[in-house]
Point group: C2
Chain length 144, copies 2
Amino acid sequence: MKKFSSRYSIAVHILSLVALSPTSCTSDFIAESVNTNPVIIRRIIGMLKKAGLVHVRAGAGGTYLQKELDEITLLDVYRAVEVADNGDIFNFHDETNPKCPVGANIESVFRTKMLQAQSAMEHELAQVTLKQLVSELKEKTGSI
Amino acid sequence: MKKFSSRYSIAVHILSLVALSPTSCTSDFIAESVNTNPVIIRRIIGMLKKAGLVHVRAGAGGTYLQKELDEITLLDVYRAVEVADNGDIFNFHDETNPKCPVGANIESVFRTKMLQAQSAMEHELAQVTLKQLVSELKEKTGSI
DNA sequence: ATCGTTGTAACTATAATGATTACATCGAGA
DNA sequence: TCTCGATGTAATCATTATAGTTACAACGAT
């Protein structure tokens, strides 16, 4: 019964914090808001950096957005921290018996359907920008 | 980088086989088509049984569909074998710092978006019946 | 009553996650 | 230039899910 890792929610948390915080965001500072270990934060920031979403002042400290808030979607963040090797979220039992007509063909038929389902999910994620999300967050917090 | 387990693809394989096979489907027979251990098959059949999708002739042997092919959707199968405790596929880092305005509110904002994405995926799965899938499978195999 | 099948328990190996300690390296500022 | 805080990353550990396997009691059609 596996779900997606919590890296994704932490990544969104990090980006929101960086977007909203007036002060410099060190991994220690962020870790306190997320309530976890600074190394967890640094690892995730490393992925966000690799995806071109943030840059980090090495030595000096602090993480900063590298794109505008409305240029980052939840899909971008998802792909940065959560995506599997080939991008598929569904697993397949891929060594079916080729001598059986069902075993030989079931995977390709099933895979097509699964990719459609995955696309639908990713399309939904692509609709939400961090700008929207942060704006809703601001409403919730009243001010910040 | 976790994906869904291969139980799902195996479950669909099992149901397709049961639907198409003229002979009795014992766990040994199915395991040969899937190319895995019979106990794996029995475990998954147990979940399908619990979900009311199949029934099993205990003692005698053999698995049979309990619903019509067009009454079983990929979402039904998904829920039978893959669903996590509360049904959410996304994980949340839920012990954020309540003293931080972002930490205190990010989860509920993010969760709403995630549930929409999950719904989109499940809606897509609900569109596909086993009847369609088996029909496509028949086309692929030529005959059976 | 027999015998093949199911339903489980128990065990193993493997892999991902999340947390933590440790430490080399970077670079801004005194 | 030196110091000191911050980053980047390796290594380790506990936990959990998956996948496979062996073993065996219980079922029930014949």
